[in-house]
C-alpha cells in the first residue's frame, strides 16, 4: 500500500482523498468508504450517517423504513442566530431526511429485528420530539412484532431548540423501553462517536446490552464543559469507549467490521433469536 505516494498527493482537490481524524493520514476516499469509514492505517472509526450504518448492518435488501411521515416543527418559535424552522429546512435539504433518526424493520443474519439509527449529520443527531417519538414507535413496533430492538446512537444530546419538549423525550424513550422490557423485550444499544448528553442519559444507557465502537466519545457532559468546570487537564482517553469499559460502564467494545456478526451472535442468545441458526457463509467479516 503506497502510503508514501498518498502523502505526496495531499493537496489534491477535495473529494478524492479524505483526511483521517485519528492519524491525519490521507486516505483514498473510495477505499475509505469500502472500509466502512474506518481508517485502514490507525483503525479510527469515523462517524457515519444513518443510511451507511443501515447498509452495513442490515441483511441486504431487508430494511423497510417506517414512520417516515413524522416531521419536526418549531413549536416554541425558537430563534437564535437563525430561526429553528430554517435550521430544520437546511438540515433536511442537506441530508434528504426529515429528522435525525431513521427506523425500520430488517433482518440481521436472518434474524428479524427493529433497527433505529441516529444520524449525526442531521443537527448533530440531536433528540427533539420527532427523534424521541420515532424511537418510542420503533420500540413499540418491536414489542408488537415481538422482535429485538437495536439502537445506534451518534448524538450531541437533547435538541435545545425544542426546550423542555426535547428534555421530555428522555422520559418518553425510557418509558417505551421500560414497557418493552417488562414484556420480555430485548434491546441492544450501540454507542458510536460521539454520544453525549440527553441521549446517553436516557434510552442509550438502559438497553440490555451496551456496546461501543472503539475510541468513541461517550459521556454525559461534553469535555469542554467539564474542563470549564474543573479547570484542569482531562485525563488521557477520558470519556472514550476504552475508559468506559475500564470503569465498568459498558458491556463491550466491538470493532465496526465485527459489529454486525457480534450483534447476530448476541441475538442468537435471546429468546427471539435463539432458534435462528448461524448462516453457513459468515457475513460478519465480509
Amino acid at each position: 500500500m503506497g502510503w508514501g505516494l498518498r502523502r505526496k498527493k495531499k493537496d489534491m482537490p477535495g473529494g478524492l482523498w479524505t483526511k483521517c481524524k485519528g492519524c491525519s493520514a490521507m486516505i483514498y476516499t473510495k477505499e475509505f468508504a469500502q472500509n466502512a469509514h474506518v481508517c485502514p492505517k490507525c483503525g479510527f472509526h469515523h462517524t457515519i450517517n444513518a443510511r451507511t450504518r443501515i447498509e452495513i448492518t442490515a441483511d441486504p435488501g431487508t430494511f423497510a423504513e417506517k414512520f417516515t411521515d413524522l416531521r419536526p416543527r418549531d413549536r416554541l418559535g425558537f430563534v437564535d442566530k437563525e430561526p429553528y424552522a430554517e435550521k430544520i429546512e437546511n438540515a433536511q435539504k442537506k441530508t434528504g431526511q426529515n429528522d435525525a433518526c431513521i427506523a425500520g424493520t430488517c433482518e440481521i443474519e436472518g434474524i428479524p429485528v427493529v433497527l433505529a439509527v441516529l444520524d449525526f449529520s442531521f443537527m448533530g443527531g440531536s433528540m427533539g420530539e420527532i427523534v424521541g417519538e420515532k424511537l418510542a414507535c420503533a420500540i413499540e413496533l418491536a414489542e408488537a412484532n415481538r422482535v429485538p430492538v437495536i439502537i445506534f446512537s451518534a448524538s450531541g444530546g437533547a435538541r435545545m431548540h425544542e426546550g423542555a419538549i426535547s428534555l421530555m423525550q428522555m422520559a418518553k424513550t425510557c418509558a417505551a423501553l421500560n414497557h418493552y422490557r417488562n414484556r420480555g423485550g430485548v434491546s441492544i444499544s450501540v454507542l458510536t462517536n460521539p454520544t453525549t448528553g440527553g441521549v446517553t442519559a436516557s434510552f442509550a444507557s438502559v438497553c440490555d446490552f451496551l456496546i461501543a465502537e472503539p475510541k468513541a466519545l461517550i459521556g454525559f457532559a461534553g469535555p469542554r464543559v467539564i474542563q470549564n468546570t474543573i479547570r484542569q487537564e482531562l485525563p488521557e482517553g477520558f470519556q472514550r469507549s476504552e475508559f468506559l469499559l475500564e470503569k465498568g460502564q459498558i458491556d463491550s467494545i466491538i470493532d465496526r467490521h465485527a459489529l454486525r456478526g457480534q450483534i447476530a451472535t448476541i441475538l442468537r442468545y435471546t429468546p427471539q433469536g435463539r432458534d435462528y441458526p448461524k448462516p453457513k457463509t459468515a457475513t460478519a467479516e465480509s
Binding site: 417506517k66 414512520f67 413524522l70 416531521r71 416554541l76 425558537f78 430563534v79 437564535d80 420530539e129 420515532k134 418510542a136 414507535c137 413496533l141 408488537a144 412484532n145 415481538r146 422482535v147 437533547a158 435545545m160 426546550g163 423542555a164 419538549i165 428534555l167 421530555m168 428522555m170 422520559a171 418518553k172 425510557c174 418509558a175 421500560n178 414497557h179 417488562n182 414484556r183 420480555g184 423485550g185 448528553g197 446517553t200 442519559a201 436516557s202 434510552f203 442509550a204 444507557s205 438502559v206 461517550i218 459521556g219 454525559f220 457532559a221 464543559v225 467539564i226 468546570t229 474543573i230 482531562l234 485525563p235 477520558f238 470503569k247 465498568g248 429468546p271 427471539q272 435463539r274 432458534d275
Partner: protein, 385 residues
C-alpha cells in the same frame, strides 16, 4: 432551635441595603418605596405628628408596585427569582414542613452525595419518602452540595430510597432544585449518564404514588433524574428546561450575554411549561415571590402535596402506573404522531389483536413461548413477549 435556624435564613428587617447577592435589578423600584416607608415608620414612632395618611399612601403604593412588577416578570426575571438566595430550599421545606424527619444517607455503593437529600418525612399528616436536591445555605454547605448539582451516587441514593419507599408503601415526594447534574471527571467515571438514565427508566415501575414539585431550578437531565411521576407541579417562579439559559446562550449565542434571550426562547417558565402540556399544575407564590414570604409559600406547596397524595391514593396501583407510562409516552404529542400509530397498527395488523395471549407469532420460533417476564410476581406487566 428550629425556629431560630429558620429565621436566620430569612430576610431581616434591618437589611435596608439591597446590594449583594440578594439584589434583583427589577426589584429596585419596590425597594426604593420600601425604604421610604420604613423611614416614615421610624419617624412616626418619634413624632407626635399624624403620619397615617402618608403611611397608608406608601403602603398602598408598595403593594401595587410589587403586584405590578411581579405580574410582568420576564422569563429571565423568573430565573433570577428561582435562584434568589432567600428562596426556600429543600432543607427549608424539611425544617418548616416536615415533621418527624429521618434523614437516610448514602447510595450503598460508593458515597453519600450531599446534593440530594433523602429521608422519611411527614407532610401535613402524610407520611412520605422525600427526595430533594440540596443546594446548601452557607458557603461551606453550598460547596459540599456542589450548589445542588448531583453526582451519580446522588441519583443512585435517590433510587435506592425510592425503592425503599415503594416497599414501605409510602408515597414519594421529589423536590427538584438543580442547575443540572455535576459535570466532572469523577461523575463521568462513575457513570453520570447511566445513573440518570436508570432513574428515569426505573421510576416508571415504582409501585407507589410519585409527586414531583419543581421548587426552584429544573435543570435538564439532572432534574429529570428525580422528576418522573404521577403529578408534576412547578412553583410559580421556578424554571424547568433542557438546559440552563447560560448554557444555551454559550452554545447558541456563543456568549453568556445571550442568557436573557435564551431564557425567553427556551419557554422555561411554569406558565410556558403548563401551556406546552409538560406540567400538571402551577403552585402560586406570595406576591413578591417565595423569598418574600417563605412560610406562606412552603405551606401552599405542602397543602398541594398532601392533596395530590390523597387524590392519587384512590387510584389502583396498576392504573396509576399505566397512567404514568401514558403521561410520558404521550407527553406534548402532535397529531402526526397519531398517524405513526396508525401506520404501526397497519404494519403489525393482527398481532395487535393477539394482545395478551401467549400465542406464538410467526416471528418467534416454536418453543420460544415460555419466556419468563422479568418483573416480580404481582406485576401487571406480566404479558409475555
Amino acid at each position: 432551635m428550629r425556629e431560630h435556624r429558620f429565621h436566620a435564613a430569612m430576610p431581616r428587617k434591618d437589611r435596608k441595603s439591597i446590594s449583594g447577592p440578594t439584589a434583583l435589578p427589577f426589584k429596585k423600584p419596590i425597594e426604593d418605596v420600601r425604604s421610604r416607608l420604613e423611614e416614615l415608620e421610624e419617624l412616626a414612632g418619634q413624632t407626635t405628628h399624624d403620619l397615617s395618611e402618608e403611611l397608608a399612601f406608601y403602603r398602598d403604593r408598595l403593594e401595587r408596585l410589587t403586584q405590578e412588577i411581579y405580574g410582568e416578570l420576564t422569563p429571565w426575571n423568573r430565573v433570577q427569582v428561582a435562584r434568589h438566595p432567600n428562596r426556600p430550599l429543600t432543607s427549608d421545606f424539611v425544617e418548616h414542613l416536615c415533621a418527624d424527619f429521618v434523614e437516610l444517607h448514602g447510595d450503598g455503593y460508593y458515597g453519600d452525595d450531599r446534593a440530594i437529600l433523602t429521608g422519611l418525612a411527614t407532610i401535613y399528616g402524610e407520611k412520605v419518602l422525600l427526595v430533594g436536591h440540596r443546594k446548601g445555605k452557607s458557603t461551606k454547605e453550598r460547596l459540599a452540595c456542589h450548589f445542588g448539582s448531583a453526582h451519580p451516587e446522588g441519583y443512585r441514593k435517590a433510587l435506592r430510597k425510592m425503592r425503599l419507599g415503594e416497599r414501605l408503601g409510602l408515597p414519594i415526594v421529589c423536590l427538584v432544585n438543580t442547575p443540572g447534574a455535576y459535570p466532572g471527571v469523577g461523575a463521568e467515571e462513575r457513570g453520570q449518564a447511566r445513573a440518570i438514565a436508570e432513574n428515569i427508566f426505573e421510576m416508571f415501575e415504582i409501585r407507589t404514588q410519585i409527586i414531583v414539585v419543581v421548587i426552584g431550578e429544573g435543570g435538564s437531565g439532572g432534574a429529570l433524574g428525580i422528576a418522573v411521576g404521577d403529578h408534576i407541579a412547578m412553583m410559580e417562579n421556578s424554571w424547568y428546561s433542557v438546559i440552563s439559559p447560560e448554557g444555551c446562550a454559550s452554545i447558541l449565542w456563543r456568549s453568556a450575554d445571550g442568557k436573557e434571550q435564551a431564557a425567553e426562547a427556551l419557554k422555561l417558565t411554569a406558565q410556558d411549561m403548563q401551556g406546552l402540556g409538560l406540567v400538571d399544575e402551577i403552585l402560586p407564590e406570595p406576591v413578591g415571590g417565595a423569598h418574600a414570604d417563605p412560610r406562606t409559600a412552603m405551606n401552599g406547596v405542602g397543602e398541594a402535596i398532601a392533596a395530590r397524595i390523597q387524590a392519587l391514593r384512590s387510584v389502583p396501583l396498576d392504573e396509576l402506573l399505566e397512567a404514568r407510562y401514558q403521561k410520558f409516552r404521550r407527553i406534548a404529542q402532535l397529531e402526526q404522531a397519531i398517524q405513526a400509530e396508525a401506520e404501526k397498527a397497519a404494519n403489525t395488523g393482527p398481532r395487535e389483536v393477539l394482545g395478551d395471549s401467549d400465542e406464538s407469532p410467526d416471528l418467534i420460533p416454536e418453543g420460544r413461548k415460555g419466556v419468563p417476564p422479568r418483573r416480580t410476581p404481582g406485576s401487571p406487566r406480566g404479558r409475555r413477549l
